[in-house]
Symmetry: C2
DNA sequence: TAATTTTGTTTAAACGATTAAACAACTGGG
DNA sequence: CCCAGTTGTTTAATCGTTTAAACAAAATTA
């Protein structure tokens, strides 16, 4: 690495004080500085290829223009798409994003928060796991600006931007029912995460509301590790029931992806043998031979709003913003009006 | 935000100098410090919930433990998977990753490099676009540690970790030929990027080597914007040729994804009507009704090695490392031995 | 006991910026 | 000709660390 050029180098070369150089390069004291001197400074700065040391600047100004983004796994398309949106919004506002994947792991999450705070990030955008509560409370207590995305904790008063999961799940289930399906199953996670439990609640309430008894055998909750095997197992279990299921709701895109692979392998006819709906979309859903009906999350909107809320908080706005955005059910080939159709409205 | 605790606060509370506090918290001067004092300092640090100001530390030590990662688009699965690997490797070595998407845009790329350098990143991992050459040269000239991944410039002497694209493409084409396909098409990008041109070269050489004349009508090079339409158009063009094509190689996963969607819509039978191979894998490839034969890039290996090379460079190692990793052809259902089979070896 | 070494701690400069306040040199009005 | 205001620039403190060097007291050696 070559010696880095600093204000002092410019100052010396031009023959002025570093203060003046700083003023010029930051366009402060506009009227006061002699045109010719300002010009000379800019010229020399360019010539020496000067680059502000943002670290030094941050130390003095107590502002890093950095946002920390913590997701479960950046390689998940939901996360990476979100990351991209957030990056764009941040970029527009001259912020840089540092990111980390918590991997559903409390220790790693804590470490990430710690690292980011040590680096004096101006704020955090977090898609929290269920074991993140303690840290979240700490963040709130320390008045660190942050906003939760995708997931949140109903009992903790924080900024969040999420989906109206209950409503979305209800709508999907209702769509199944409208199509005439009665035996409707759900594969979801066995987690206390609110967004996931809301999906289950929406599913159950939609059933009840239509007079369909809730059968707990039709809901399978899987763990987070070895998802592939768990989903396959769940699927096979559901298909082996005495009264076979007619429709299946995947509670997340990851579950859907593994589920579809297996359905492909088992040569199950969709939607004839089994109707499907997935939460969230991925390219994968399009490539299934019967493009899937899915619940479309307003990802860009979420990312945009999350960043906006965070930046406002960073600017000192201390109102709490809680947003449950509506999802949209995109109906495609994996659900159709079936025989025992009970006249939708 | 609450007042932040700094060394001075601890020092005052314990009744020692900040130097001593610093020594203790950094485990320096191990033998010299009185046990009881060290303990007291640690105790108070904990009690006050002290957190080192990494910014100040970085300013002094001239080391940020930060890596800048620049990809074309973090929401592309290739990039986000890579990002995840790099994040893990960095994490293990106590580095943090800041990232940015250049969006195939020279100005944005320049801005990102600039921002990252201002932030005094210790080094950069870059998947460069074709218009990145100038900046790359500058980086080299300024002796900034960096390593290119996925793409590189054969004429510029830099660290890089990439795929042996020529070999991979050759192998895929040879596999088509072994299966008995003769009319083999390629959809690729019209770019000067070396990795992409190598894919074309491998394709052509494999054909030639087997005595199959190269027909330039069978290679379609599309632009980067409105990819979806371009791919669809390319596909339709290829299918409408007088002598219809029998096999098709997608030069990237993005092209494959759009291509497959269209093939799905057009109800083309794979592999009967058209055999397919894709570069790189995504979940999407598995969900196509005929799971695709694909060229598997050793992504983890690439990410791991790239980080390793970068960290070595940061440590001062100034040997240039250039790696072309071998790909693996994963044969699945989108290619089969066809009728006019010409006895593979 | 004096000199030396060891132990434990402090002093103070530095990193590279920002910025309030001080200062110097003009300009112009009365 | 003096004072006030304006213009242009510098001084110096500061942000929160690190760390070489200085220092003081205690322990060891001669």
């Amino acid at each position: 690495m070559m010696k880095k050029i600093c204000l002092k180098d410019i100052a010396e070369k031009v023959g002025v004080s570093t203060a003046l150089v700083s003023y010029v390069l930051n366009n402060k004291k506009e009227g006061r500085i002699k045109k010719s001197v300002a010009e000379k400074i800019r010229e020399v700065a360019l010539e020496l290829n000067y680059r502000t040391n943002q670290i030094a600047k941050s130390l003095k100004t107590n502002k890093t223009f950095t946002i920390g983004l913590i997701v479960a796994d950046i390689s998940n398309p939901f996360s990476s798409n979100m990351a991209r949106i957030i990056e764009n919004e941040a970029y527009k506002n001259n912020y840089t994003v540092i990111f980390g994947s918590s991997d559903h792991n409390a220790a790693r999450f804590d470490k990430l928060v710690d690292t980011f705070l040590n680096r004096q990030v101006d704020g955090l955008i977090i898609a929290p796991g269920e074991n993140a509560v303690a840290q979240i409370l700490l963040l709130r207590q320390q008045r660190i600006p942050f906003v939760l995305v995708d997931r949140y904790f109903p009992d903790i008063k924080t900024n969040y931007v999420a989906l109206d999961n209950y409503e979305a799940s209800w709508a999907a289930t209702q769509h199944f029912i409208n199509c005439g399906y009665q035996k409707i199953a759900l594969i979801t996670f066995n987690t206390s995460l609110f967004n996931i439990s809301e999906r289950k609640r929406g599913y159950i309430d939609a059933l009840k509301n239509n007079g369909i008894p809730f059968d707990k055998n039709l809901v399978i909750e899987i763990g987070n590790d070895n998802m592939k095997a768990a989903v396959e197992h769940a699927l096979e279990h559901l298909l082996a029931l005495n009264e076979p299921i007619e429709a299946l709701l995947f509670a997340t895109n990851a579950i859907a992806t593994y589920g579809l692979k297996r359905i492909n392998e088992l040569n199950i006819k969709v939607p004839e043998q089994l109707a499907l709906i997935s939460f969230d979309k991925t390219d994968a859903l399009d490539l299934f031979y019967a493009p899937l009906t899915y619940i479309n999350q307003p990802l860009s909107e979420m990312g945009r709003l999350a960043t906006k809320v965070l930046l406002a908080a960073i600017e000192g706005d201390d109102t709490i913003t809680q947003l449950n955005l509506p999802a949209e059910l995109v109906i495609r080939s994996s659900t159709v009006m079936s025989k025992k159709q009970d006249s939708p409205s």
